[in-house]
Amino acid sequence: MRVIGRRLALYVVTAWVAITVNFVIPRLMPGNPIQTMIGKLTNQVTPQEIQAIRSAFGVGLSQNWFTQYWHYLGQLVHGNLGVSITLSTPVTTVLGNAIPWTVGLIGVATVVSFVLGTVSGALLGWTRGSSLDNLIPVATFFQAVPYFFLGTVAFLIFSNHLGWFPGQGAYNLSLTPGFHWSYIASVLRYGELPAFTIILSSIAGWMLGMRNMMITTVGEDYVLMAVAKGLPRRRVIWHAARNAVLPSIANLSLAIGLVVSGALLVELVFNYPGVGDLLFHAVSNEDYPLIQGIFLVITLCVLAANFLADLVYFSLDPRTRTAAVV
């Protein structure tokens, strides 16, 4: 329990750092981009909205930083992330529409990739030195390709050229979204290729990590003992794999951030209406409230996922329950 408490404390501190970075960066950066942005906006928005932007980013305010910071935290507690400039909608509403798509796509793809990668890594580690090892350079290549590039190529070949998968977007636009089968089937169908891309890009990392741990584990005495006892091969592999998987799970919470970062861009390639697509929209239109809201929400989601992964790790590894090994 103490270990879980320590991890939780870390995530709370991290969340606080992210929140504070969001506050400080606009106030520290040279050139005052917010002033420029307000200058461009004068004709498009009402004076009240400009006042709201000013108070959110601390431009032309007489209050000191401490008062501003206190005000900013108060707004966050009330779930107020400001108003998107280009969409004239509260950032929370915009994000609320995008998040389910992202969580659905990236969440499922990450879990599938982790499970597949770990299982195949265990088998690779077991059959080391065989011709299966030739998979490793291939996996390395896919690991080095940026996700968005792989997505572009996959789209070009499988969707545009061969027509195996539907085009861009998240569902067939002629259907009315709702809880009926044709819509759900369309959502699944449109999600296949983006999910496949994310799995292909991220699987190599899990596979190589598991393979290396497996090779180390297979050399341990207790594996030799299991063989000496005459256990069937499958039991021995299971025996070794269960121990080898622990570092992989411990690393899971560190890798989630990287995978999510890469996967966000896959949405961009496929015009998938998730957070990644929104982020691109925000960046190309210099919509600062939206950029910051997205950063905060992604960070909080990743931290929550990290904590879940930690809980799984702690429940699997009995050593963490007695000693404070983190």
Partner: protein, 323 residues
């Protein structure tokens, strides 16, 4: 004196070869490019031909020239970011591991926080506030990327430092009264060399990805050619939709090759650090020649003795550590 030498396995050789090729390209790329990459007076959307090896863009620019010019900015930013991030990782990691106590708590917390925050969104927030002039500056971009990418290395270095700090030779230097600074830089740091190298390669790999991604979403200056900017323009002009593969595939393949090369070298370092992996790296051919079965037996790690094996195997084993 130990001589450190990387295993001369095919993986490492291929990796080193790829990196050398691209390093040369970084230097001579802009000189050997047939045209000015920003000149847009050619016919638009030409398919590859003898005159334009990779065709032209929708704006009438020569794609091959852009590719050759793009190597410099991409690799320069990645190397700057990699070096700076490794330096930060060294300072934080070694001090945390060696000093222990309160200093360790604070520094570990710092690196854990940076590990937990997803890098790309943070990078985008930082970069979107940079003035336009700074977005073309390789040094500033490299620093910003380094800021988001040092934590992993610090963590690994801290762990290794902690295992070194109680070894006899460190204990001895403490007793003869060497200063902390000297122990950390002269006694401990050289022993971290393989891990430092691996962490440097890993950060360069991360930095290439980060830089190219920033360029791809249009957050670096579009006046500096790099492989990400090329893909940004390709995507903006719907190149994938109209089958203009020769516009966005070459920069992507270059990025992947540089990345794969770094990863292959890293395999060599991994095998150097962990002997069990090295033995797993022996190919079946070598094992057969040594009279061992191809299928590695359960629970047994094959260890080939230099004296009892034929000369060829001897050589392949030398590929490991030479003492």
């Amino acid at each position: 004196m130990k001589r450190l030498r990387l295993p001369r396995s095919p993986k490492v050789l291929v990796g080193v070869g790829i990196e050398l090729f691209f390093l040369v390209l970084t230097v001579i790329g802009p000189w050997i490019a047939p045209y000015n990459p920003s000149y847009n007076g050619f016919a638009q959307n030409l398919a590859p031909s003898a005159k334009h090896w990779l065709g032209t863009t929708a704006l009438g620019e020569d794609i091959f020239s852009q590719l050759l010019n793009g190597a410099r900015a991409t690799i320069l930013v990645a190397v700057v970011a990699g070096l700076v991030a490794t330096l930060i990782a060294m300072i934080v990691g070694i001090s945390a591991g060696y000093l222990g106590g309160k200093a360790d708590d604070g520094l570990s917390m710092l690196s854990n926080v940076f590990l937990a925050i997803p890098g790309l969104p943070l990078l985008i927030v930082l970069d979107s506030y940079l003035p336009q002039a700074d977005r073309s500056n390789s040094l500033i971009l490299g620093l910003v990327i380094a800021l988001t990418g040092w934590a992993w290395g610090a963590r690994v270095l801290r762990a290794q430092t902690m295992s070194l700090r109680n070894r006899d030779f460190v204990e001895a230097s403490r007793i003869i009264g060497e200063s902390r600074w000297r122990i950390m830089t002269v006694e401990i740091a050289p022993n971290l060399l393989p891990i430092l190298a691996s962490s440097l390669l890993f950060t360069i790999l991360y930095s290439i990805g980060a830089y190219v991604t920033l360029a791809y979403i249009g957050l670096t200056s579009t006046s500096v050619w790099n492989w990400g900017t090329m893909m940004f323009w390709a995507q903006a002009n719907n190149a994938p939709l109209v089958n203009q593969w020769y516009w966005f595939v070459p920069p992507g393949v270059c990025i992947a090759l540089v990345g794969a090369g770094l990863a292959l070298i890293n395999f060599g370092i991994d095998e150097f650090i962990n002997p069990r992996l090295r033995e797993a790296g022996l190919t079946s051919k070598v094992l057969r020649r040594a009279g061992l079965s191809r299928r590695v037996r359960l629970g047994v790690t094959p260890v080939l003795r230099e004296t009892s094996s034929p000369r060829r195997i001897h050589r392949s084993l030398q590929a490991g550590v030479q003492r």
